[in-house]
Amino acid sequence: MIEQFFEGLSMALRIDTFVMMALGLFGGMLVGALPGFTTLMAMAILLPISFFLDPLVGIPFLLGIYKGGMFGGSIPAILVSMPGTGAAVATSRDGYALTKQGKSRKALDMALFASVFGDTASDIFTILMIFPIAVLVMQFGPPELFAVLLMSLIIIAVTSGSNPLKALIMMMLGLWLSFIGTDPLGGVERFTFGLFELKSGIPLLPMLIGVFAIPEIASVVMRNEKTRQLAAVMGERLTLTELRRCFRTIGRSTVIGTSIGIIPGLGQVVAAMMGYSAAKNASETPEKFGQGELEGVAAAEAANNSVNGPTMVPLLTLGIPGDNVTAILLGAFVAQGLRPGPQLFDEQGATVFAILIAMIFGNIMFLAIGYLSIPLFSRIVTIKVSVLIPLVIMFAFAGAFVFRSDSVDLLMLVVFGIFGIVAKAARFDVMPMVMGFILGPPLEYAFGQTVAMTNGDMFGFFLGERWGAATVLALCPVFGYLLWKRMQSVNTA
C-alpha cells in the first residue's frame, strides 16, 4: 500500500492534471454560480470529454468541476438567496442575511475557507481509510455484496426528498430500466420488444444528461427567462479573528460531513443541514443563527464540502455511487477502464491514489482560484439565456453522440429529457431512479450468485455461514425507518 501511495504521488504530479483541474474548478464555480444551472448538469455534459483524456487528467477535471460547483452554488445562495445547489440552502440562511447587512464579501470568504478546509481534511481521511476498507470489502462474497447493495438502495430511498414512497417508486422504475437488454446471469433478452438497438440495454450517459441536464434547461425555456443576474459583492474581507472564532464549528462540521459522506445516499444536503443544526445547538447565541451569523455559513459549507472525499469510498471500494454526482463519476471511471470494486486496488491501486492525491492538490488550487475569482463577481454579470441555452444543448448532444457514435443515443437523450421534465412536474426526484438503474445489474447478479450458493437451503445458508449478510438484510427495514425519522427531524429543524 505504501509503495502504491508513493507511486500514485509521482503519477499525480503532472502539469496537464493541474491545468485541467484548474479549468474544472473555475468552470464548476462559474456554473454553480449561475442560478438555475447546476454542477450536476455541467458534469453530465462535460463527462464525455473526460473519456478521451488520460484517467489522471479526465477524472481530476470532473472532480474539479464537482468541487468548484459546490462552492459556486453558495455564491447565488449568499448574494441573491437562490442556492445553486441543494446543499447551499443552509448557507443561504445566514449568507443572504449577511449580504443584506453589506457583508457579502465576508460571507463569501468564509464559505471559501470553510469549504477548502472541510474538503482537504476529508480527502486526507479518505486516503488513510480507503485501503483498509478495500481490504475488508475483499472479504465480501455475493451474499454480503447483495446485502450492502440492498441497504444502500434503502438508504438512498429514505433520504431522497421527503416522501420515501415516491423515491421507492422511482427506484423500482430505475431497476426496471436496468433490466432492458440482456440478463446478466443467463444472457437472455428482456424488454427489448425485438429492437436491435435495445439489445445492449440503455446507455448510461444519454440517460444522465437527459434526466439531470435537460429538465433544468427546459425549465429555463418554459419560464421564459431572458437573463441570469448576480448581485454585486460588497464589504470588507474576512478577518483572521473572525475565521479563528469559527475553527471549532468548521472542525465539527468537517467530522459530520466526513461521517455522512461514507454512507451512500446521504450526500451534501443532509451534511449541510446536520452541520448547521449542530452548530446552532452548540452555539452560545443560537438566536443569531439565521440573522447573519458567520458560524452558520462556516458550518454549512464545511459540512457539505467534506462529503466530497469520503463519498469516493463506497464508490471506489464497492462501485456504489452515493449520489447523482458520484453516479456520473462512476461513468467516468468505467469508461476509463477503472471498474470500481475491491479488485481496483489490486490492479490499479497507484492510479486510484494518484486521483485521490490530485484531489488534495486541487484544494490548494481551489483556495487560490476561489480567492482570486470572488472579485470577478463584484460587477453585475448578465448572461443572455438565448446564447447560453443553444450552446449548452449543442454540447449535450455532441457529448451524448460521442459516447457510442450511435444516433439512437440522441433519441434516448430526448426521451429521458421528456421523462425528466415530467417527473419534475409531478414532483418526483430522479436520483433514486438513476441509482436503481446503476445498481440494478450488480444487485441481480449478486442475488443470482447467492441463490446458486445456497443449494436450495436459503435459511440454513444465511444463518449458518453468512450471518453477517443475514444481519444486514434483517436490519435493512429497521435502519431505513430510523433513518427516515431522523431525516424528518433534520428537515423540520
Binding site: 478521451f52 446564447v387 441555452i389 450552446l391 453522440f401 421534465i421
Partner: protein, 169 residues
C-alpha cells in the same frame, strides 16, 4: 366517491401503476425463454424473477401512493399543470429535430439550424447574433472534438473536406 385530481403527480403515479401491472402479467411475452442445456437451466434464478419482483413492488407502491394522494387534502401550493407547455413542446420539438438530423445532415447543419431555432425560442431577435452563434460555435466544437480529442462526430463529406483544406492538421 371523490373525483380523481387531475395533477401531474396523479397521472404519473397511475401511469407507473398501470404499466407495472401490465408488464407483470405480460412478463412471458417481454422476457425471452431461458436457455436450457440437457434439461437443466443455466442460471439459479429464472430471468423473469427479478423483473417480476420489481414490477409487482412498483405496482403496489404506485397504487398505495395514488390512494394516499386521493385521501389527503389537495395542496393548493402545488400547480395543477405544467407551466409553459407550448414553449416546452417547441423546445422538445427542436431537440427531436436535432436528434433526427444530426446523422443525415451532419453536425454543422443540424447544429446551426437547431441553435438558431433555440435562440429564437429563448427570445433572441438579433439576426447577426444568431448568425454568429450558429456559424462559429458548431465548427469550433467539431474541430476541438475531432482534432484535439480525436473523437468522431457525424459530418457531411463536403464540409469535412472543407475543414481539411482549411486547416493543415
Amino acid at each position: 366517491m371523490a373525483e380523481l385530481r387531475r395533477t401531474p403527480e396523479n397521472y404519473f403515479t397511475l401511469t407507473c401503476a398501470v404499466l407495472g401491472l401490465i408488464a407483470f402479467f405480460c412478463i412471458g411475452w417481454l422476457v425471452a425463454t431461458p436457455k436450457v442445456l440437457f434439461g437443466r437451466s443455466l442460471t439459479a434464478i429464472p430471468p423473469s424473477l427479478f423483473p417480476q419482483l420489481v414490477l409487482g413492488t412498483l405496482s403496489i407502491l404506485s397504487f398505495a401512493l395514488a390512494w394516499r394522494i386521493h385521501r389527503s387534502p389537495p395542496d393548493e401550493s402545488i400547480p395543477s399543470g405544467i407551466y409553459g407547455v407550448g414553449r416546452g413542446a417547441a423546445f422538445f420539438g427542436v431537440m427531436t429535430f436535432y436528434a433526427l438530423t444530426m446523422t443525415p445532415f451532419g453536425f454543422f447543419i443540424s447544429s446551426a439550424l437547431s441553435m438558431a431555432a433555440m435562440s429564437v425560442l429563448t427570445g433572441n431577435r438579433t439576426i447577426w447574433q444568431i448568425a454568429l452563434l450558429c456559424l462559429i460555435a458548431p465548427p469550433l466544437l467539431y474541430l476541438a472534438a475531432t482534432r484535439l480529442l480525436a473523437v468522431s462526430l457525424p459530418e457531411l463529406n463536403a464540409i469535412e473536406l472543407f475543414y481539411a483544406r482549411l486547416l493543415p492538421w
